[in-house]
Amino acid sequence: MSALLERQRALAAALTGGAPGIAEHVIGDAIPAEQRVQVYANHFRISLLETLASTFPVTRALVGEAFFAQTARAFIAAEQPVSPLLAQYGSGFPGFLAAQPDLGAHNYLPDVAAFEWALNVAYFAADVELLRPEDLPDPDAAARLPLTLHPSVQRLSTPFPVSEIWQVHQPDAPAIERIDMNGGGERLLIWRKEIDVCWRRLDPGEDCLLAELGAGQPLGSAAMAAAAHEAFDFPASFSWMLDGGIFARTFDSGIPIA
């Protein structure tokens, strides 16, 4: 093993677990070697804690600073970034929260975190050209086409009123007197329209349509599956989806774009 690799593994171990091996390779003087290593270990923990705090601000507000910091530190110890893109750090945090034994009445917390993660993903998702109504061929031909969802599109089903909880923690929050935690869950769509991150509630048919399309089903059979849900209005739903930039432009007049 190269000496460089050896030093890097030793320092990495010190950053995450406090393994002492690296100190003997570090010059200690008026400032001891251990303390010098500690500067890096502190930065690692604090900078990732700040990253999680900025990605999950509502989750943090809901549980309070102390619990959030404690849980985030445990998460950072368990799961380090796997990409140099910091925006990709935290995908496992909602699941990590769900596995915490002491959530108690905060059982809605993982879903709020999942919603915040979806907003983060939508913000950074790649740009693609959007499907325009005029790209679609006649209805019969269109029914046979699979549609590609915009890379920012995500769906979230939750038994909790997650969007309402999230909204009351926004700076421009509407005055909601009381959130009914037993008022039923919601199906949410999160995506980005141009530069704005958006979300809205889906009815069961819309949720089904997007699930089928996301799985690669052609538009016709996806619409058929969605129609099994009460009150599904395909023209109305498909229309807002087209306007909202839900679909990527993968064909032109029914012909796939190479």
Partner: protein
């Protein structure tokens, strides 16, 4: 271990000429996107952190508009040229795509590593300066320059520790990288000062920092970074933290003056990445850098600019 072959690929002196030296540039941060378009301040150019612009949406949207107003430089923080492994192929592809789209005046990265064995640590981590490391970093720079089809600049890091087996001075390490790969050098004077204080103490630091500048090859330095740092206390001894979160300190301004005298062709960039103030504060600090630079390059019988310090944004 043999010495790295010298291929005489010193970069052209026009590297980064598109940025100019008339006015300092500022680091581009998302909170200033809209204000820059609105206010169009008198700054020289913009530098982006490559990793902040590798997705779509708002960052790309604003960059697409800002690039029409100012020259742009791409500063990477994620490649980890100092890593023992080759740069991550996926990340290099993202950087290449960004550079291809943006056609920036300069591309730079750090003499540091960022991850190992598939894990990343969100920091610019130090490496031992050995012959082995020199070979590895040179290989990594070669890979990146070949992929980007252009020379890049390598920045000296702020460090809080030194390895016992380091036996090449950092400035010499950078010099030999430049000679061996044709890469240029990004001279961060705040990092030089921070590292100097952290390794030799407050009193000895200015002389050590000046000697560092002296040992850099003047023609290879194409960009200068300035920034603020924080001061922590390690049982009575100061340890400086390179947090880019405040005004540039007086000792760093003095070092900056020495740097512009040695590297007058190099463009200046003000970095401010934490505790980000309103845009006007950055613009004022960048203008102060312009005055410092002019004074440093003026004949010695002219007025010193030190007295102008109080004009700066607080």
């Amino acid at each position: 271990m043999t010495d790295m072959p010298i291929r005489d690929r010193s970069p052209g002196t026009d590297l980064g000429a598109g940025l100019g030296t008339d006015r300092a540039g500022i680091g581009l941060r998302a909170p200033h996107h809209a204000a820059l378009l609105e206010e169009r301040p008198a700054i020289g150019w913009l530098e982006i952190h490559a990793e902040n612009y590798m997705g779509g949406g708002a960052p790309r949207h604003y960059l697409e508009r800002l690039r029409r107003l100012w020259p742009v430089s791409v500063h990477g923080v994620g490649l980890g040229l100092g890593g023992s492994a080759l740069p991550d192929e996926q990340h290099l592809a993202r950087l290449a795509a960004l550079v291809e789209w943006l056609q920036p005046a300069l591309v730079s990265e750090h003499l540091a590593w960022v991850g190992i064995d598939g894990r990343y640590y969100n920091d610019l981590l130090p490496l031992p300066y050995t012959e082995e490391a020199l070979q590895i970093v040179a290989r990594n720079i070669d890979v990146v320059q070949t992929r980007l089809k252009r020379p890049i600049l390598i920045e000296n890091p702020a460090t809080y520790l030194r390895f016992r087996d380091s036996h090449i001075a950092e400035a010499e390490f950078l010099t030999r990288l430049s000679q061996g790969t044709g890469c240029g050098i990004l001279c961060d004077v705040n990092n030089i000062y921070v590292s100097s204080v952290n390794h030799v103490g407050l009193e000895a630091a200015p002389a050590v920092a000046d000697a560092y500048l002296d040992s850099l090859p003047a023609t290879a330095v194409h960009e200068i970074h300035i920034a603020g740092h924080a001061e922590n206390d390690a049982d009575g001894r100061p340890i400086l933290i390179d947090d880019h979160g405040s005004l540039v300190s007086e000792p760093v301004w003095r070092l900056y003056a020495s740097a512009v005298q040695r590297f007058p062709h190099a463009a200046t960039l003000l970095e401010w990445d934490t505790n980000i103030p309103p845009l006007s504060h950055l613009v004022a600090e960048a203008a102060h850098a312009d005055r410092r630079r002019a004074a440093a390059l003026a004949p010695s019988d002219q007025l010193s600019v030190d007295e102008e310090g109080d004009e700066r944004a607080a």
